[in-house]
Amino acid sequence: MVDRGSVDTRVRIGDLVLRNPVMPASGTFAEGLAPVVPFERLGALVTKTVTAELRGGNPTPRVCEVGQGMLNSIGIPSKGIDDFLEHTLPFYRGFATPLVASVSAPSGDAFAEAVARLDAPGVAAIEANISCPNIEEDGKAFAMDPRSTAQVVAKIRRATKLPVWVKLSPNTGDVASVARAAEDAGADALVVANTILAMSIDIETFRPRLGNVMGGLSGPAVKPIVVRMVYQCARVARIPVIGCGGISTAADAVEYMLAGASAVQVGTATFVRPTAMLTVIDGLIQFCARKGFARVADLTGAVHDADMTVDTVEVAS
């Protein structure tokens, strides 16, 4: 046992030291949460993805629930980077918590340009959402293959001195190779992962349940898939991995950290329980105290698997 008050909750993501490993997932967090969650208690704040171009977003319905998860297809509505710098960023300067600006763009050069403009006071790191379509590859998402990931991350890397976190997509056959490509191209951390491409049909109306037909699956339903991806990425990457996928309790966060995550992002759970991130933080401390861990960071990669082998093709190692 360790005294709860003495558990060191700090984690390091590259050059950034976070007060604890719990932060929101992009797209599930905004100024509107401030009345319910003290932002100073979170490890970091992560904005909705901003794009240089103005985007209206996808047709409704944009959300539907599927078992213990949800599908969404929002379409990254964005008011552009000027609006972000003028309105969003000043709001967050009032909080002593590192702000991570999530950004996306339709090409490598557009990514570089957008990232350069986000190098502004109050932005602690960039999260590059490379799960979006790359117009130079017929709309195939950058994060679907190592080569386009390497190209776009290299351009982003050259465009900023800020730490670059690269958010990977689970919609690839070989996430570990994509992870390595991102690291080799200069990423400071990997966020694993975005939502899983999915679909649902209303059997009464015969209509797809999302206006965009397909969308991203999130919530508890995806957790085992993404824990596996974090495990695979952490085994091949030297940079920190941030786990993201179906975390709603401290137990979920512990599992991700044992698999190799240095920090975690909580997304859909905040929709279900707006205070979910606070519950995860408190529970992590209790868990560490109970298990005798003086530092939360010591959970990272602590899974006991040395005597075990994985009997599947590991394309990336």
Binding site: V36, P38, R62, D83, T270, F271
Partner: protein, 297 residues
Amino acid sequence: MGQTISFQPVRLGAAPDGSAPVGPAATAPVAPSHIADVLGVVVSHVWLNDEYRHLVLEAPEPAPLARAGQFFNLECPHTAEDKPFLRRPMSLYRADPVHGIVEFLYKVTGVGTRGLASIKVGRTMRLLGPLGVGFSIPDGARSIVVLGRGVGLATLAPLAEMAAARGVGVTAILSARSAATVMSVERFAAIGATIQIVLDQDGTSDPANVERILREAAAVGRADAFYTCGSNRLMLLMQRLGRELSIPGEVALEQQMACGLGMCFCCVRNFSVDGVVEARRVCTDGPVFRLDEAMPW
């Protein structure tokens, strides 16, 4: 009773993105001063007819401070058959800050409301709110017209009471399929509203008849503002007359939601703002919007 998770001020009026406050020039901001996820205790939960249920909760502040037109995001219980994952937005039926009570009137239609319908007296449930922008009554209004259909009437009942409390007269046009499904007549009657019940059953709910009633109210100076909820057809009718007769108005809208706090952008609807179509979030830019900017659904 219950436990307040958090209790902090939220910014008023304008949406967080800096867009202009919605609604006609109003007497005062109608957004809440607080939002919290609180635990409420069910003190009554009865069927009003085959479809509608009335849920009464004892809940700590800020929940009972909710204003007409605002809503809560309710954590609906799971049953053996129905396991709602997301919360369900539910508009306020009544709030009583003196006794710490909030009430909802809802129609049982799907997974979420079936789960909600299962909750027993004495059990607790989480409610996030009060959320969104409520109704506003224009300065100088002496008399308003509310026009609702089905469960939409439940949303308008607290507005009628807010008007009455300010000495503003109310004409209430209550539309329903049959006499058995007209909601809240007693609420409108209690504040002395002039009540017109129109039904599908006898054909009186026909838009032409409703239009006649609305024109009559306007002609006798009893329509300084229009309010509607619950029917696309009635919204379009009221919008057309409002434009023709220069009567300002508001409409309470619904949309599938996730967070309720303006973060996820799931609940957008299109509005026609000076001829330009603009997407707005029902949860934070609404759910009450200017009638003249609403678009049919």
